[in-house]
Symmetry: C2
């Protein structure tokens, strides 16, 4: 997605150790016009799948997911990263975060994820794939079907894509980055 | 906002103790079409203000805020409820949550909130107003100007609105609920 890649080159900040900061337009300050374009691109890529619901994970996944849900007129469920006391019928999975070096629980209510649901998962980043695999486990536990997963940015030098390919579902990343260094961003292709 | 009130009566669940669950269309599963209509209503109410940015707080504020930002073509900053290790130039405030009975820190980067910014704050619920006042403090600390605050649902039997009126800015709630009981929802007006 050229618009996105150009924006990453213009406003993204990269550092040694594979670090990319896109908090000026994706995950702290958000550009809603770009988010709509991202939604349109996900429609283009997933539009042939028979999904009835979009699933995402708080917080940075919500903006692209709601735009996709809006365009497709489908409900959007966001998986929570903290387990609320008041939630009923809860499914949980554990996710290890490399960035934070800790394991946390994610959860979803079975009220909104059932065996008749066919979902596409949307998130901002694919790196090691741990959060995605956690959400995949929740979908499995609910008896629902995961049809595809879409990411705004993939760090293709990490293991996530390879691990997700084993699920045999459609995996899409709108910008695949193969190298990140100090002031250096290189895309695949 | 009639569409919203009708939806709350249809799909909201109310319980003794002033509890309202709207997690089937607002804060766990989200209806993107309704969120767009909510965005339009916020445009109608805040459209005359000279704001250059929308501010919200993760996670349930993001969907209505991104819709408002999309319609107005303005950036949206979401305040974080956990303080990231990697964030630079961080401002923080403390918020006491009655629901969770604990105090937590919220934060925003001064990279995205400066003294030239004039913002409108959007969130899903106004109850005691603690989160809103925390965000107001962040905006003040950044030297920015808070022009208005908009909420999808207000529990008008709690203190939030009264406390926010003291800020002398425009406060808007799209559905104001005066009574919540077991299977009982009554709106103001």
């Amino acid at each position: 997605m050229k618009l996105l890649k150009d924006r990453i080159l213009k406003d993204g900040k990269s550092f040694e150790g594979g670090i990319l900061k896109v908090d000026s337009f994706i995950n702290h300050q958000m550009d809603p016009i770009l988010m709509k374009s991202i939604g349109v691109e996900f429609v283009r890529r997933f539009g042939n799948l028979p999904m009835n619901k979009i699933i995402t994970i708080e917080a940075s996944g919500i903006a692209p997911a709601i735009m996709l849900g809006y365009l497709l007129e489908l409900p959007v469920v966001f998986v929570k990263k903290a387990v609320p006391k008041t939630m009923n019928n809860m499914l949980t999975a554990s996710v290890y975060s490399y960035t934070k070096d800790k394991t946390y629980d994610i959860c979803v209510s079975t009220d909104f994820l059932t065996k008749t649901d066919q979902v596409v998962f949307i998130d901002d980043f694919l790196a090691n794939g741990n959060a995605s695999i956690g959400v995949y486990e929740l979908v499995k536990k609910a008896g629902a079907t995961m049809l595809g997963m879409g990411f705004i940015i993939e760090k293709s030098f990490q293991k996530g894509n390879e691990r997700l390919q084993e699920l045999n579902i459609q995996i899409e990343s709108l910008a695949r980055i193969k190298t990140l260094g100090d002031n250096l961003i290189e895309f695949e292709d």
